[in-house]
Amino acid sequence: MPTIEKESLIGKRVPKMDAPEKAAGRTRYVHDMNLPGQLIGKILRTDRIHAKILSMDTSAAEALPGVKAVITAKDMPAKMLGLNNDNPPLKGDKVRAERDEIAAVAAITEEIALEALKLIKVEYEDLPTLFDPRESEKEGAPHIQESKDSNVCMEFEYEHGDAAKAETEADFVIEDTFKLHYVTHACMGVSGVIADFDNITGNLTLHSNTQVPFLHKREFSEVLEMDPSRIRIIQPPIGGGFGSKLDIYPFEPIAVILAKKSRCPVKIVFTREEEFMASPTRQPAYINLRSGVKKDGTITSRVFDSLLDNGAYTSWGATIPFVMMQTASSFYRVTDCQYATKAVYTNNPTAGSFRGYGNLQATFAIEQHMDKMAEAVGMDPLEFRLKNAQEAGEVTGQGMHFKTCGFKECLSTAGEKSDFSRKFAENNANRGNGNPVKKGIGMASMLHVGGGAKIYPSDGCGTILKMDDFGHVTILTGASEIGQGSETVLSQLVCEELGVPLSAVTVVNNDTDITPWDVGVHASRTTFIGGNAAIGAAKLAKAKVLESASQVSNIPADQLDMRGGCIVRADDGEVIMQLGKLLRGMHFKDKAELVTTSFYYEPPSVHQDKGFKGDVSAAYAWATHVVEVEVDTETGIVTLDKVTAAHDVGRVLNEMSLEGQIEGGIIMGQGYALTEDLLVKEGRVITPNFRDYKMVTAPEIPEIDLSFIETQDGEGPQGAKGVGEAPSICMAAAVGNAIYNATGVRIYEAPYTPEKVYRALKGAVEAPSMAAE
């Protein structure tokens, strides 16, 4: 009999399963779908910023031939959107921001819909505006959300130890204020939805780009006042997510109500301009940091205070302080920490969730502040970080358990591979030479959740696995694919258990009527949580199959294994029988159904208490990036030459996807640091296109040197941690540190555009301040 060696796909460079179709242009995104009888929906947005709506007249729009439905606030159920229940899908009384939706039209063509919008007449009474978050709390500031007591929409406070006392023990106290700007996801596929409401059965099918189908099903039922069991969400492939599709936005219920009223399916797809203007942003922030440090480089205390611009409505963006807090309290060993963050209402764009979830802002501040502390005590930045870095086994002041922690390995690997300390000293020494182009090297690290995130009461994911008569495996999973490659990684994990080739696996992950429940794609959780659920189902299936094989072969099940689509003897790999043949036999026996189900909840650790003490994740990811730049002091242009990155990934599951995630994140971080700047002037986005909102293009990318630190997390699937968000987090801080290394000028405000750098080098950029001018 032939034998089969155990072959593993774990750690290999496995191409994405959906790549061939995508590269052939065959994948149909929501933009590419059309349903029979479908209408085009368009949204009328206000031309004011903050105003009372006095009257609205839609009669001319309704009379236009080809218009099938016109809706305003009075057609919508009363329920609001958003975490604070403050965002009516259509605004009836008042508008608070440029993006505000006040009416919508469904028509037989886009042109007619657009023309109808122009026929809607609105009368307003303007109200005083508020664009500076620092003004929000002041006496007499305009009230953005009149039903709330104040303009503060979310507030977080936390402490451990006694930071004030610890500060008195410090030899140096360093205090800085940093300022972060607006950026947006700019997914290549713009927002879109098709609402298909069947008025005969009362069933609603949404073809939606959501990252969280199951939670949205419930939210839609509330917003639409519908029975949730009547709602089915189908997710076509998504043209980029990055956190932008974590919330329900007004256009989605609008599409549904248009569909209900017109009795036709309605498709709404944004223009790029709308996408820039009306989709969520990363939160702009002011961050003030004060830290105490001893002469020997020990950090004694940290006080973190920040203010976030929430915009006029509350989306997930308001909860990012929850993540920023971890970076303040637990990233380095800080025995005494005091933390406060407020998100406030303004008439600016609404901030949402975006890859890294507040950690880009927090890390930008903390990692530049760390360099300043190192300088104060006369230590090399790498040495200073190594002295204060967390290690495996640490339980932080906030109560996070770092069961595995590759932080020090990340630091030393990136430090050594980039020759950091030597170049740092050399650049320092060369600052004064006459060359107008200065070289700089900078380092920054990060801590982020890597084992799911306990944001909701459950962080679970379900898997149903079925095997057919030919050994083909179908994985039905709640975990969504958003381009990150979850489909492929889940399949690899199942192949590992069942010994079938990747070609024998199909993944179904896009239909709430079919797939089991999942919290959604966010917080770098899918490989970890979805992966563990898939492994669970595969293990159950394997046990069933081997049990049956044992009965047929008279070999005990624990001496059998599954390899290469066969049942083999575990010790020598001798083929006992074909898997397909066994399965066909099983199907004609009693109780042999080859469907298994499994559910993975976040591991049995408790949630944080009311004071935010405790774990937020089952595992934590770490990384260090060293960047090398050239600063042209005559033009202010900063060129990013090289990034040396080391990431604690737990274990490499798919080397190529992992590199792809990290490279993509590095370049997104490069954009945050250097080029991307969503300019908002008096509440209006003045850069709503790719000409003015400058994304990094191929010729600008740096050389990238990646290292993976494998700490084999005990809770992770095959030891892996989640890393989806990690790579974008520490880029801006590292670039800021490198510019300082090159020029001796610290710029406290991102992004480092040529104009800003040039002016800062001339001493013409004022340090940001938490207090309004």
Binding site: K16, K22, I112, R272, E663, I667
Partner: protein
């Protein structure tokens, strides 16, 4: 006004993915809308509509152009190839396989445009080096990959390591 626009149509003839087509298009319509909506070739994507992202790249007489910036009527008499056309011709399998094998595809929304830009480049410079590849892809934005693996894929076909 929409009614007027609709009336102003013109009949055009061109070669699309190797076959002759004859369509009547509104004179103000752009080529992207014609391809996607009239001819149902949805592989070519809308990313910006302003010539800034390359998602709508097509080949016109062998050159990569942005369909969103072209009037549909300007296709008259031309030879147009879309990403679907690339897939029909097996000479392009090597490029597509390289995109897959090298990990050049994540969400995939930029991939059709990238394939077209890469094809146009390689037709002109079969041995393009990495710098030439980067410049050849300059007009195409990718939000997911950071470009490294897309450049790797094209370099695998051009046979360069530099």
């Amino acid at each position: 006004m929409s009614a007027n626009k609709k009336m102003l149509t013109r009949e055009i003839n061109f070669t699309l993915n190797g076959s002759p087509v004859q369509v009547s298009v509104p004179v103000a319509e752009n080529a992207l809308i014609m391809l996607r909506e009239e001819l149902n070739l949805t592989g070519t994507k809308y990313g910006c509509g302003e010539g800034e992202c390359g998602a709508c790249s097509i080949l016109m007489d062998g050159e990569s152009v942005n369909a969103c910036l072209m009037f549909a009527v300007d296709c008259d008499g031309r030879e147009i190839v879309t990403v679907e056309g690339l897939a029909q011709d097996e000479v392009n399998d090597q490029l597509r396989d390289a995109f897959v094998e090298k990990g050049a595809v994540q969400c995939g929304f930029c991939s059709p445009g990238m394939m077209i830009a890469a094809k146009a480049l390689l037709d002109k410079k079969p041995n393009a080096n990495r710098d030439e590849i980067k410049r050849g892809l300059e007009g195409n934005i990718c939000r997911c990959t950071g470009y490294v693996k897309i450049i790797d894929a094209v370099a695998a076909v051009s046979g360069t390591n530099q």
